[in-house]
Symmetry: D2
Subunit: 366 residues, 4 copies
């Protein structure tokens, strides 16, 4: 421990004087204090503290994948950072349990005093969404104005600056696109794999046609679903089709990135793929937790505010379910699970490839 | 402790021989064991154990509110039972975190072996939904067949028998409708309260019209919402309007029940109303937790299965968001928060009423 | 909504400029930034924000019970505030899951820079402990100096001022001591109840003596335990014995408070006792959650720091387990469960008493 | 999907007839039903279901590490299984929140009927403890009889059989002992590392001696702790000292295993060490979660049962805190954090070693 520097005091280190004097309830300023306004302030301040941490971790991950050549040593750090983000998101969802100890009527005591401020104005939350890869065009805007119209100029500028640089989704897409394996003797893999998937989808279609326990509507929906699936799958191997589906929003990642993600998922037990697989899983965890949070948040809003001003209630629900569908940044990774086949049915990898994916010190076992 | 009876052994008491021999993975039966199938079985068995407990608590609550005259001593027990149900629901949502340690590909190893069995076939879950008050007509059926068509005859019969008897929602509606207070000198309360709410809604409309920061679409949506709100509110005092809105599904509870629920919520600090208020809150908690669970479950399904067979993916999402909106059993209670006014603005209660709502031993304080 | 006042902006309302600029990692100041120091700061700042909220709720509860005459309307609010405190404590325990994403080695990058600051210096945490009722004498001091010797003068002064005023435990003790019921015809209750408990303890002793499956040591320990229990129980009815046991620290509450707490617990179904019962339960919940938190915190410390400097490791463990035993503020309430008897065996209450405990509008049912 | 086999029904697949008919409350059998006994049964049955799953995962991990030569592909599976065990443990701790909705008095309605059965008789829980590596000698026995004296003969036999075969701790020790790296040019590493640690401990001692803010007792305790630490550290490089400390229980793992664990922890960023590092972390997580669970369980027991029969209360606390200290299976891994030094201070690895720890396809970056 560094003897030279003067001893540090807990409260100074954490700047508690600033931190704990930054709660100024409007209801008190206006001389009719509402007990629960402090809770409202503190919950949101806690959110913002955690958002800062999430942005700090996203910056680390971005720094790692911004490299043209990602050092394997760094993938472990990226995975740890994403793991931390996921834990933080789970934690802040829990903060809703505390906020819900405030009843709608207690909220009424000060709610109108805060107008028109709103959680939609959280710059940091927007930066997290953008940093992950949510694009302006993906957003559902409840009214006819751009989503950032409620932000002040400074914040709007920062949001737009963030939209102008590559997101985590962009970084991952490029990084996946660089995965060497898929090419090395990979073509043989592709062929056999395509056959396997096509069989699987055909078998599923057969069941839908032949099975009496399935209703007509369900059958049609199912068959349509399978056709669309086949089409999306083919698009993984065909530039033109792929481009068309990207146009329609059915795929977001490049052809190479999709192939690599599929490869990583299928052969995740290979030493060199184990961390990339965790990375992809964590991206889905984060996506899913963000969605679950938006949903819980909307449920609470409805309960707190009821149905007026369309801030909650049914219109809120429509907004939300729309959002739930469209705010999925890594939807491609979820969609890929449509094309998985059982480990047991996986085409074996060529030996030289498996060797390349093992550790220098060890020969691959068969 | 009863000396006479022979000593009990933990494993016998819990019938562990039966319990722990009731896991028979299909993949093992068919000679190609899949490690993760046991997890799949155990998660679902744990669900079913907890469902049994929930039904046990629902039966207790039903027994209490089935009485023409609910003993105040029993309301505390009902509240405790509902509190337990809510905790159990929170716990079983957590089981998804464990299930999600199974990857889509691991699931594939045995998924097809289980066809066409499905969680939709859980009799106990259906009985919980029905017991709470979900009606056949409220359900979203993904195909053209009734939701219970996938159940076997015995189970279908039990589901239909359950649908034929009063649900918790029905019991609560009747019990609320019997609340004495609303009448005692209540008319004066109603009048003043109606005025207060009408003012509030008018003020909100004014803001929508006058505030520049609000977009046109948002303004129209908001004003429409306020009109609908005013209409729903008026319907609480008008048999004919109420009947019409029930017809349209805008209200479910009777006029008297809605008035009572509003009264309990507004004057919840009165000793006699404190437990009824907790009761109503717990009904909303349970409703909300059921919804959140359906949602998390659908997210997981999409991740596990991808988009084929319409079991997950977007169509699953539509189903789910529809369900999220329509499976709300106690939606009336959520909707009432639209009509709350701040405690500080509450019309005072007549003294004789407050006295009636205090304890015998104590005079009400003013 | 108040049209007059100028519109509020989210970031201004939450003072995000101050809040989000209050993180100054030492490692950055010294020019060798450690990525994880920000997490360390933010976790602790989030703790302090929540501590402020807990103190806000404790103040509300204190204000209520400081009254010579507690309005029944307020007990519901006190229960709600304690419920909120319990939820907050559960939440902040969860923050450890996030902190544990920092590995011991990552902590090492900046740990020594913080010397000698320590969580033990959290003024607000001390104020919470004191506010609940932890007394200076209850504390385990790892070294030969008073527990507040690590605080600076200002903080030490505030800690000592807090120790000088009544705690929640004191307030509750007085309030319980005032419970009217125990006296009203209560003597008859006391007698029959004493007999019932004495029988129960005797029966337990018989089992210990006669049961072959019980080991000698266990038998002696058990019998000794029963004797001590009988003694503690008798002390509830005997000033002199009670005073002696308070001296020894076996009881903390006054005779009257203990009797009342027992009465509330036994007859909690009576309407007038339902909220007081929840109140007592919540005090135990809070006590238990504080203890569980101290324990999880110590486990984490040991993992982070290992065994040196006695800050964790075995000596930490001893400190902690001592603390776990002695920091129990409402230990009396836990101890009372020793003297409960089954509802079915409860002596019935005299009618006039039950009437007094019902609501004015309703006659008690038999 | 396999068309040939007959369709599977959810209830048959899960054997719900057996599962849901395996709850037989004693209180009902004896004709005085206690509502909450079902909860008690179901909570414990849910525990046992999850225990079965944990044992299933432990078997998988054991199978992997039983190999003389662990395939790198399998380490990912072992990590996934341990991750799952950890999630399950977190989940079942949550079950206590549900059990705590039962009040001590409700428990009394049936508690005596269960005598002398006890959770201590859970065979599966014992098998989990043993499987992880808890040794008979590590156990704290509350009475003078062996811990398994309460089990019936069959269960006792199974417990003793389990104690006779290698535990996970044994497997990991052997596997770590085989780690190749530590030797390759490793001696140079050892020397520089020893120096670094010895410096660090010396610096810490200096602070303890020179710092005025530290109390005398704390100083002595700290210096003693440092000496012990130095001794334990030296023992990692000295067969004789190591043997002596194993004798005293200060270390459990072999010299080679300790060196390897330290090496893995220090150089965890090297691709080949990332999964082994997660493995070691998960072992600590599991150890910690088991401990936290024992603790929460004891707190609940005390609350439920109070202080009689020594099953809870203070004696229970002593037992527990003893257990908390001694039931630590992977205590060595926690102890190692005492000897970590900051990444920045780590001696660099020889190039040929780093190459050996990279992937075949990639040259290490410097």
């Amino acid at each position: 421990m560094s003897e030279e520097k003067k001893p540090i005091y807990y409260a100074d280190y954490l700047q508690l004087d600033r931190l704990l004097s930054a709660q100024a309830p409007e209801s008190e300023r206006l001389g009719r204090p509402a007990h629960d306004e402090l809770l409202f302030i503190i919950v949101h301040q806690a959110y913002e503290l955690w958002f800062k941490q999430i942005l700090h971790e996203l910056a680390l991950v971005d720094g790692i994948f911004a490299n043209a050549n990602v050092d394997d040593r760094d993938i472990g750090r990226a995975v740890a950072a994403l793991q931390r983000i996921e834990r933080i998101l789970k934690l802040v969802i829990g903060q809703l349990d505390v906020l819900e100890t405030m009843t709608p009527q207690d909220f009424l005591e000060f709610r109108d005093l805060l107008f028109p401020s709103s959680g939609f104005q959280s710059l940091q939350f927007r930066l997290i969404e953008i940093g992950l890869g949510l694009r302006r065009g993906d957003r559902v805007t409840p009214d006819d104005k751009p989503y950032d119209s409620r932000l002040n100029e400074t914040d709007r500028a920062r949001v737009q600056a963030a939209e102008a640089v590559p997101s985590l989704s962009d970084r991952i897409e490029v990084w996946l696109g660089r995965t060497p394996f898929v090419e090395i003797g990979g073509y043989r893999f592709q062929e056999s794999y395509r056959a396997a998937v096509t069989d699987m989808l055909a078998r599923d279609a057969a069941i839908l046609r032949d099975n009496p326990t399935i209703g007509a509507m369900e059958r049609e929906a199912g068959l349509a679903g399978l056709e669309a699936a086949q089409e999306r799958f083919e698009a993984i191997y065909d530039e033109a089709r792929h481009a068309a589906l990207v146009e329609q929003g059915a795929w977001r990642f490049s052809l190479g990135a999709l192939q690599a993600a599929l490869f990583v998922t299928l052969y995740r037990d290979e030493p060199v793929l184990q961390l990339p697989f965790r990375l992809l899983s964590l991206l889905m965890d984060i996506d899913e937790t963000m969605t679950a949070w938006r949903y819980r948040h909307a449920l609470m809003a409805q309960r707190m505010i009821g149905r007026k001003l369309g801030t909650g209630g049914s219109s809120g629900h429509d907004y939300l379910s729309e959002a739930a569908k469209r705010y999925r940044v890594f939807g491609d990774l979820f969609a890929l699970s449509t094309f998985l086949i059982p480990r047991s049915a996986l085409p074996p990898l060529p030996d030289e490839l498996r060797r390349a994916m093992g550790y220098g010190y060890a020969a691959p076992k068969d």
